[in-house]
């Protein structure tokens, strides 16, 4: 009994305590993140038939992912074309959510004085998340469709002689749905950063003769950098991995990496899908790495 107690007490020394504190999260991470990830990477080197997977270490799947990419240059192969299209959405959505998110967060942080109103307005921003993803997207159809509300209004008011087709099942529709969905992910971290800014700094800036724009650009923006980067990481990773929104709003006519993976999975081409997933993971990590180079998150936090 005495010995057991002594052994236990050694395990709970102050030096060991932090390890015990992170152990539960580390365990969850290992089982639900690292392990599946490792399996995905391993499987991506396997061979497969229509009904089975064969353990192996071959690069066939990666060759297949990039099939024809060199031969077809300067024309783009499917993989490059798909990534380019997904990247295009990333940039567009990122820009729009950044401007929108920044304005909303700025308004909430600096113009709304009472905490109650801040909370009320904040909750208003979450309204898009009160319904399910699919319902939210399907409800765009009666709004933007050829016979939808917007087109009915445009035609009736004489703005456009005939219904506009590009409102739905187009790049425009995809970006619109993404912005609607993901602006919130930009607002939250930006608001968080902004609410920590010492108001005295803004006053000092004004006293020193800066115009409101100069204050925003030289004081608020640099101090909200961490929120900006965190929000950007959210938006970029969400857009890179999405295939449901692109599918529904693009009328399934626009390719996305996620969709390709889904099709491969449905045809039981698990190793090929795994290889595609690993490539996607690499691409997303590269983007995030670049972003964190621009802002040193650790120092800022």
């Amino acid at each position: 009994m005495e010995r057991v107690h002594r052994g236990l007490s050694r395990l709970i020394t102050p030096a060991a305590a932090p390890y015990w504190q992170i152990a539960p999260l580390a365990g969850v991470f290992a089982v639900f993140f690292l392990l599946p990830l490792a399996i995905t990477v391993i499987v991506s080197f396997w061979r497969y038939t229509e009904y089975s997977m064969i353990p192996a270490v071959v690069g066939d799947n990666y060759v297949s992912v990039f099939a024809g990419c060199l031969a077809e240059l300067p024309a783009l192969c499917v993989t490059f074309k798909t990534y380019l299209s997904t990247l295009k959405f990333c940039v567009l959505v990122w820009l729009v959510t950044l401007v929108l998110g920044f304005s909303v967060a700025y308004f909430l942080a600096f113009h709304v004085r009472s905490l109650t109103w801040q909370i009320v307005l904040f909750l208003l921003c979450t309204i898009p998340f009160w319904t399910s993803n699919v319902i939210r997207m399907i409800s765009w159809v009666p709004l933007l469709g050829r016979n939808g509300l917007v087109n009915a209004f445009l035609v009736a008011s004489g703005v456009s002689p005939s219904p506009l087709d590009w409102l739905l099942f187009s790049d425009f529709a995809v970006v619109l749905a993404f912005v609607h969905l993901y602006t919130m992910f930009m607002i939250v971290p930006l608001f968080n950063s902004m609410s920590r800014i010492d108001r005295a700094l803004l006053e000092a800036s004004r006293d020193a003769g800066a115009s409101p724009w100069q204050t925003i650009w030289n004081v608020v923006v640099p101090l909200s950098k961490p929120g900006l980067v965190i929000g950007s990481i959210f938006v970029v990773t969400l857009v890179m991995g999405d295939y449901v929104t692109i599918g529904v709003m693009g009328g399934q006519q626009i390719a996305s990496v996620g969709k390709i993976i889904q099709v491969e999975l449905s045809y039981l081409q698990f190793p090929l899908a795994a290889a595609n997933a690993v490539v996607l993971l690499g691409a997303v990590l590269a983007i995030i790495w670049t972003m964190t180079r621009l802002v040193d998150l650790r120092r800022e936090l």
Partner: protein
Amino acid sequence: MKPRTKGQAGMSRRTVLKAAAAAIAGFPAIVSAQPVTLRYLGTAVNQSKEIAQKVKADLGLVIEYIPVTTDEVAKRIITQPNSFDVVDAEYFQLRKLIPSGNLLGMDAKRIKYADKITPVFTKGQVAGKTIGDQGTAPKKVFYLEGPTSTKFAAAPTQWITLIPTVYNADTLGIRPDLIKRPISSWSELLNSEFKGKAAILNIPSIGIMDAAMVVESLGAHKYRDKGNMTKPEIDLTIKTLIDAKKAGQFRAFWKDFNESVNLMASGEVVIQSMWSPAVTKVRSMGVPCIYQPLKEGYRAWAAGFGLPKTLTGKKLDASYEFINWFLSGWAGAFLNRQGYYSAVLETAKANMEPYEWAYWMEGKPAEKDIKAPDGTLLEKTGTVRDGGSYEARMGAVACWNAVMDENDYMVRKWNEFIAA
């Protein structure tokens, strides 16, 4: 710890033994009183509450539905063959399911109506006339060489892969009120008259066959087998699709039943590949929609019950019992009333009103209002079913849903089409 006395230990051992003996004696009685539960894996389309209730009433079996997508059915059979007791799979999937060795060849001797199953499955015939067998026609994958064989038999044997549940002939759905002229050929799908108003199915193996029907009717190419194309044939078909896509022919592609209903009902699309119940749904919303018979014929599909190889004892018996019940008429009539076709026609006929049979199966004008199994009005008196009688529709089948030998290549090219 306090040591126990011998006496106490003996006493307790005796009591335990007594209890165990009682439990063993009572055990079988408890089990037989418990209804057997069958886990039924399949797509939600065929898993009606009414069927489960009727099975419970007639056989005392509890049906526990596991509703998943068609792709997921195949995935489950291959990766988790112990997670279900009965599976409702599609015949075209058998080419990859049977080699996995996870499905049992079902004993025809235990299937009461085995020799009454329509010749569509056993011989590929309707009313004595041979129908199109391009693609994975059920007759090609209907029999196995033995109960545990992984090879399809060329001639009929005692071992059946799947016992048919439902099948149908698919074609294009159109909006007659917006097209305003007769449509009679698959080539109309790519007619520039419907630019920006056409849609196709985004399920590669099915979508490419619809495209092949179009290519053939345009006179661009005659396929040896639309369900098993060569690489150049795949290239040609995908190129036709890409050209059409770039010219703005398609409004959207759809993957899900509700998407196709939405596209059609909202008028975004006036001509598209469609499934029969989706047409019914659009019509029940008060929007005119026709499941248009076309001169080149239909693309057919069929689904059926399979059993996992690991099934034994009571569960196996119960599964056979359930399948026999399914073929005995009530379920067949239930399915026929939804516009599908059932495997054993005579038992289904006995369970339908003569006017229902005349409308659904004989292509005659409805004598009375035609109602769905849940009582909603489907068609008014006097209407005729699109495509007419069973013989006219199933007799005009041109090809069957399929898995190609060049499946990998086809999927890759399809992704190219989507990215174009």
